[in-house]
Symmetry: C2
Subunit: 199 residues, 2 copies
C-alpha cells in the first residue's frame, strides 16, 4: 500500500517561502538557502532525510514550483532542475493549462494535470505502484492536500530562523491531528516525522 | 548570569490559543487541554520539561494571563492558580493599571508593572538573582520580548494538532536566528529547546 508523504523545509514561524516570489526568486524575498540549506551544508548529517526527499515512486507539485506563470510564454521551459532532475520518476504538475508531457533524462517525466488535486493523486498513485507518492510543494499545494486529508506522513524540516511574512504552511488547515514518529536535530535543522491521523 | 527562558506550548501551526479568549475560556475556542495536555496526560514522560516550567527565580506574564481585563472590577481576583500558585517566586504582571502586590501562599507574589516590558525584565532579573527569569506568556507578551531580543532560550512544546486561527506565536517577529540544542518527542508533544542567537 502506497504511502503519501510530504517533506517540506519550513521556518520556525511556519513559512515555506518569503514574499514576492518570482521566476528569478522562487523563494521570494528570503535567501534560497535560508530554509533548504541544511541539505547542502550538512549533507552527511542529514543523509537519511535528503535521500527520503527523492525516494518516492511519483511526485506531485504545483505549477509555481515547476516554473513560470504562463508555461506557454516559454515553450522551452523544462523546470528548475536541469536536464536530469533529481526525481527519476513521474512528476505530476498541477496546472490550469494543458501541456504535453516533458520527458527528461534519468527517468523524470513531467505530466501536466488540469482536473484538480484528487485526479493528480489518483494518477500519481497509479504511477507509483507500491512506492510512496510525495507531495513536493509549494505551500499552496501542500495546504490543499492537507485540508483534503490526502497526506499520510508529514516530514517537517524546521530551519532555526523566523521569516515573518510570506507563504505559510498550515494556512487555514484547522483540526488536523497527528502522531509524532521521530524527532531529532542538528545545528541547522530539526526533523520531525509525523503520521497524520485520519480516523 | 541569569538566563531568560520562555517555555510555551504551541500547536503545530503555531498557535498558543484559539480565538475569542474570555475569562471563562482563557484558551478561546479550543479545549484548554489541546495544547497543554501533555503536562497532565504524560507527567512521567515529560517530567524534565514540566519541572523546567516552574524552575525560574522570577516570572513575567501578561495581564491576560493573570486574569480579568479590568483588575479593578474584581478586587478579590488573585489569578487562576488558587491560593498556592505553582511559581513559588515573584511574578511580574504587565499591566496598564497600578495595583498593590498580591502575596500568595508558597512564595508566589504577583507584582504589577505599568512601565513596560524592559522595566519588568529589569525587576525580574534583580529578583531572580542567579536563577533564570521565565517569560510565561501569553503569546502577545512572548512576541514582544522576542521582537525586543530579550529572550535567551526558547523551549517549544509542540502539540501534534493544528488550530487554524487564534493567538499566534511568532506574529511579526522576522529575522530571529536560533540554535537548536535538543529535540525529542512523545506521542503527545515534541520538545525543541533553542538558544536564540543575539550576535
Amino acid at each position: 500500500m502506497s504511502t503519501v508523504t510530504c517533506g517540506v523545509s519550513v521556518s520556525l514561524d511556519g513559512f515555506v517561502a518569503g514574499r514576492n516570489m518570482t521566476l528569478e526568486n522562487p523563494f521570494g524575498d528570503i535567501s534560497p538557502m535560508l530554509l533548504t540549506g541544511w541539505q547542502f551544508d550538512e549533507p552527511e548529517k542529514n543523509k537519511a532525510e535528503r535521500d527520503a526527499l527523492v525516494s518516492a515512486g511519483a511526485y506531485i507539485m504545483g505549477r509555481n514550483m515547476f516554473g513560470p506563470k504562463d508555461l506557454q510564454s516559454d515553450p522551452n521551459w523544462k523546470g528548475w532542475w536541469g536536464d536530469n532532475p533529481p526525481y527519476h520518476a513521474p512528476v505530476f504538475v498541477l496546472s490550469h493549462t494543458e501541456h504535453e508531457p516533458i520527458a527528461m533524462q534519468g527517468g523524470t517525466t513531467f505530466y501536466f494535470v488540469t482536473d484538480g488535486i484528487a485526479s493528480a493523486m489518483k494518477q500519481a498513485k497509479e504511477a507509483a505502484g507500491s512506492k510512496d507518492v510525495a507531495v513536493a510543494g509549494g505551500a499552496n499545494v501542500i495546504n490543499q492536500y492537507l485540508a483534503a486529508g490526502l497526506i499520510d506522513e508529514l516530514w517537517l524540516h524546521i530551519a532555526p530562523v523566523t521569516v515573518g511574512r510570506g507563504q505559510r504552511l498550515f494556512k487555514d488547515t484547522p483540526g488536523i491531528r497527528l502522531k509524532p514518529l521521530e524527532a531529532r536535530t542538528t545545528d541547522r535543522v530539526t526533523h520531525i516525522k509525523y503520521r497524520i491521523l485520519h480516523d
